[in-house]
Symmetry: C2
Subunit: 247 residues, 2 copies
Amino acid sequence: MTYCVGILVRDGLVMISDTRTNAGLDNIATYRKLHVFERPGDRVVAIATSGNLAITQSVVTLVTEGFEDAETGETETIYSVPSMFRAAQLVGRAIREVYRVDGRALEQSAASFDVTMLVAGQIKGGRLRLFMVYRAGNFIEATEDTPYLQIGEHKYGKPILDRAATFETNLDDALKLGLLSMDSTIRSNLSVGLPIDTLMVRRDALQSALRHRIGSDDAYFADLRQRWSRALRDAHQAIPTPPYGQA
Amino acid sequence: MTYCVGILVRDGLVMISDTRTNAGLDNIATYRKLHVFERPGDRVVAIATSGNLAITQSVVTLVTEGFEDAETGETETIYSVPSMFRAAQLVGRAIREVYRVDGRALEQSAASFDVTMLVAGQIKGGRLRLFMVYRAGNFIEATEDTPYLQIGEHKYGKPILDRAATFETNLDDALKLGLLSMDSTIRSNLSVGLPIDTLMVRRDALQSALRHRIGSDDAYFADLRQRWSRALRDAHQAIPTPPYGQA
């Protein structure tokens, strides 16, 4: 499986993704699932992928190679789309194209056509936006009310986001919250694992403020995990004993 | 959906269950899912149910009315089984009987035969035990290594248990942890809701130490939720800012 989360706040955007893929428990590998397309001053666009790796790799290749526009004859790629909305449409189009080519054969071998993606970033002249693109190629967008979107194994890491992530959360806190959400997922689900890829983009900067891979030797992440565990333990111990049925 | 958790510790057993059932988002009701069969000094047996309500109600009725033993002609019920192992077998047998009667018709109307149960407690002369019975009627048992079992919407509430629940956790803390696990689930999933039924059994007491329903007016649970939220907020704020890419 996979766990990726995107958090859109007033100050910017954070994207966090694990890198574990598996075809059964006995076939585990590491693949980048957070792809960043950046041209400072013009655009920074991230695509985070979950689902069948053959599909997601094809989609990433297609949006990089692009599609020819039937009218103008020009090729549209993730580096040439004029807006984030068009970027999300391009990813949706690529998913539909992979389905057209591979969908039936996958279904015939009892494999499902399984793919969901986050598409986020900012392109010059437009807003910073965060989308989730479904397997049908359609998509939704994060808003101030619901500033985060998750794909993959999303349930373990949702409670901390539901409690703490708002549009007013500052960017560093958003990164911390995303890492805590990832930590909860990694602890409870073997199919999600280190290293973790992170991206931070400040609103209107049109370039990444951070692109960093967190491995098992990362001192900050190890410290964050330890502090969080200790804080949770202290927190539940500080809660009074249930008064029910006390003699 | 449903969320029920059973935690087996050195001192005893805690069972916690929500009460929400739904047939679509527009048809929500309250049903008890934690059933306690108690005869102080002889036995205290709890059955927590998840899945299709028609099936789970039938199973609970069948274990209460009992099955006739072909050899002895005697009727075996949840009140007469001589051990917890036999109690789990009885529940498994009841599930198979409901499947025999209703399974095919359910599948024909595109409804799945969906049921999982926790069976836990102690019967005079035997140990305190906690089982999870699957839809096939087979079952597994909690152990000192893995002292808790969950049914229903288990992912949201698993991280806190993974971090903190061990066989050496004391009974009051086990109840607190179970309530925190329930709180996380209720916050993130609409299909799980108050009131919450709880049961606490001390090892070898052969009677319940607590049978309590927590409603929306419960001051302790409201305080627990508030303290937990505040503690989580404080905890993540106390974690240092990520050092990555600091200029």
